[in-house]
């Protein structure tokens, strides 16, 4: 029963983390639409099972690299709402002291090496982190999140080659949401994506990215194998983004239909699906899930209010953090 208890805790934690991501994105969307949030942002809603399923297989010391659609990875890797919303709003208490914003949001203390606004830009960093861990022999694993669009970047092939040659503990996690910005991925990707990794001799998997349990199970397995020196690995996670490429991408009929979006939300939502499973397994009741949803939403609302009221960084911070050993680069 002890094991069952652990599983129950893990399940509830995964459910809660997915709900937290959804709640965070719902608030971020509102902040953006109500013009309270500067800049631009890319919603992770719909892809929660990928970030949560994988990050729940990692320790806080294991590293991930994230993308421009990175709020979900950030939450899943252990970040708190308040510093995240502060970062989103450019406030001093943000994880990056307001210097990163939505596209570079990361809780570095939990092993997040940063969200990267260059598509595919973090593939070298993730692979380098794996090289570092291999050299240091600390057994840590690095997961490189990227989208299907990034598979068109040459850098990936360079680093997969080296990762395979040197057996680096890195997992390339491609979140294939079907769209490369405003274009159907079928239009930009020839052949098979998994075959590309396999060409380097990298063991590859293709999996339903909406099934958090399946994702987590695979991730647990591959992380363990990485720690034993069996990496690298590649996973294609088939998933779907509910919003446009970015929040302002409202009229997207030209690349996908409303019916398609409705169908994914109705029948393939990762949170609803997992909630239904949890109930059907008798792990939680419907009321329990509603209570979790309400509690998380209240947390998110409180964090938004906190962030809106918190201070911007002082102007003197503008030339701080340019060089690590120089307090003010322009002094």
């Amino acid at each position: 029963m002890a094991k069952a208890k652990t599983n129950t805790d893990d399940y509830l934690r995964m459910y809660r983390q997915m709900v937290r991501i959804r709640a965070f994105e719902d608030q971020a969307n509102q902040l953006y639409l109500s013009a309270k949030m500067p800049g631009l942002t890319h919603m992770y809603s719909g892809q929660e099972a990928v970030a949560v399923g994988i990050c729940e297989a990692l320790t806080p010391q294991d590293h991930i690299t994230s993308t421009h659609r990175g709020h979900g990875h950030c939450v899943a890797k252990g970040a708190e709402f308040k510093p995240m919303f502060c970062e989103l709003l450019g406030k001093a208490e943000g994880y990056c002291r307001g210097k990163g914003g939505s596209m570079h949001i990361a809780d570095q203390s939990n092993g997040n090496l940063g969200a990267n606004a260059i598509v595919g830009g973090s593939m070298g960093i993730a692979t380098g982190a794996a090289l570092s861990h291999k050299m240091l022999g600390d057994g840590q694993v690095t997961v490189c999140f990227f989208g299907d669009g990034a598979t068109a970047q040459g850098l990936w092939y360079e680093v997969m080659n080296m990762a395979a040659l040197w057996k680096l503990p890195v997992i390339y996690a491609c979140e294939n949401n079907g769209y490369s910005e405003y274009t159907r991925t079928e239009e930009i990707a020839a052949g098979s994506i998994t075959a590309r990794a396999e060409a380097f001799g990298i063991e590859s998997f293709s999996i339903d990215g909406q099934d958090v349990l399946a994702v987590n199970r695979l991730a647990q397995d591959l992380v363990a194998r990485c720690r034993k020196g069996e990496g690298p690995f590649f996973i294609e996670l088939k998933t779907y983004r509910y919003h446009g490429h970015h929040v302002g991408d409202i009229n997207r009929d030209y690349y996908r239909s409303k019916e398609e979006e409705a169908e994914w939300k109705k029948s393939r939502d990762p949170i609803t699906g997992f909630g239904t499973w949890l109930q059907s397994e008798g792990i939680v009741s419907s009321d329990d899930l509603v209570a979790i949803n309400d509690e998380v939403r209240a947390d998110a609302e409180a964090a938004v209010k906190y962030a809106l009221d918190s201070a911007y960084p002082d102007g003197s911070e503008v030339d701080m953090h340019v060089y690590s050993d120089t307090e003010h680069a322009l002094a």
Partner: protein
């Protein structure tokens, strides 16, 4: 004091730092058994093994990307970029990733990596193996840029670069690899941001970088024969730039000639000349003159290539004209 070549000095610096700190490792194309085309790293793989002296595929963006990630996660990569011209291949990893990570993370992440590469024309290598592109990276905040002017400088600056917690790009002049200079047996470091006054003078300040320091020293000798006393300054690092030493000298001499091997337009000479004009304007008794590489792709033919780089005679003649109060550009 013993005299060794610049190539040997660099080799010593790498070996000493790798002995001192086991997180330092060397990677690049043909750095192990081949010891690079310039035979700079020969012997290192025998001492440190292939796990710390790593031959990479010909994938410059890939291995520079790996270096960024490795630097962020506990090791200190020293990357060999075979020719400075290949910088264009690695711009995203160097300028978007390495340079900005510390800032975008609000100071939480550091990138202690060194990119060793070279500059310098007149080696009959044509337009893609002869460029001096240090201004390109000096333009990007977050990177440090060192330009050793002799074997002694190369060793001391490289050791400092390896210990720096920021990304550093160090450019050696490939024509100087076999040039010998006195280098002490005992360990020493040369500080960044502290210019070296190689020769004191009264009438004109010659500011040179990299091998152009040697050009300036020869020009100073020619000027001395004409009764003109030239001060020669080597900034050592252009980021950070020791502006104070340059300005103090120009305030004393009232005249300045800046000599660098990057293209003349929009480059290092323009930057230094502009700072002099801004901050020592009322001490100037003559326009600040600049010598850079001619604004043409570097040609192959010796008859053409030799025309593109400043010579001691040209520098001396220009400096002498300045001292005679000749007007360079009529109103």
């Amino acid at each position: 004091m013993r005299e060794i070549t610049l190539s040997q000095a660099v080799n010593e610096a790498i070996a000493e730092e790798m002995r001192r700190d086991e997180t330092v490792f060397l990677m690049g194309e043909d750095v192990a058994e081949a010891g690079t085309p310039f035979k700079i790293t020969s012997g290192l793989v025998e001492e440190f093994g292939t796990s710390r002296v790593i031959d990479t595929p010909i994938s410059e963006p890939g291995f520079v990307g790996l270096a960024v990630g490795a630097a962020m996660t506990g090791t200190r990569p020293l990357v060999d970029l075979m020719f400075g011209d290949f910088l264009f291949l690695v711009m995203d990893q160097l300028c978007n990733q390495a340079a900005k990570t510390h800032y975008m993370s609000g100071g939480k992440l550091k990138v202690p990596m060194v990119l060793r590469t070279n500059l310098g024309a007149t080696r009959r290598s044509a337009a893609q193996h002869s460029q001096s592109l240090h201004a390109l990276v000096a333009h990007i905040p977050g990177l440090r840029v060192a330009l050793p002017s002799s074997a002694y400088e190369a060793k001391g600056l490289l050791k400092t670069a390896i210990r720096d917690d920021n990304p550093v790009v160090i450019f050696e002049d490939k024509l100087m690899y076999q040039d010998k200079a006195p280098v002490p047996e005992e360990e020493y470091l040369l500080p960044f941001g502290q210019a070296n006054i190689l020769r004191e003078g009264r009438d004109v300040t010659l500011i040179g970088t990299s091998s152009m320091v040697q050009v300036c020293l020869k020009a100073a000798g020619l000027l001395e024969a004409q009764g003109i006393s030239a001060e020669v300054i080597d900034p050592r690092t252009i980021v950070p730039l020791d502006e104070a030493t340059i300005l103090d000298s120009v305030r004393k001499t009232s005249r300045a000639v800046v000599v660098d091997e990057g293209h003349r337009s929009y480059g290092v000479t323009a930057e230094i000349a502009a700072r002099i004009s801004e901050k020592a304007f009322y001490h100037l008794d003559a326009p600040v003159l600049r010598f850079g590489a001619m604004d043409v792709p570097v040609p192959f033919s010796p008859a053409l290539e030799d025309l593109t780089v400043a010579t001691p005679d040209q520098v001396a003649e220009a400096a002498a004209r300045l001292c005679r109060g000749e007007m360079f550009h009529a109103a």
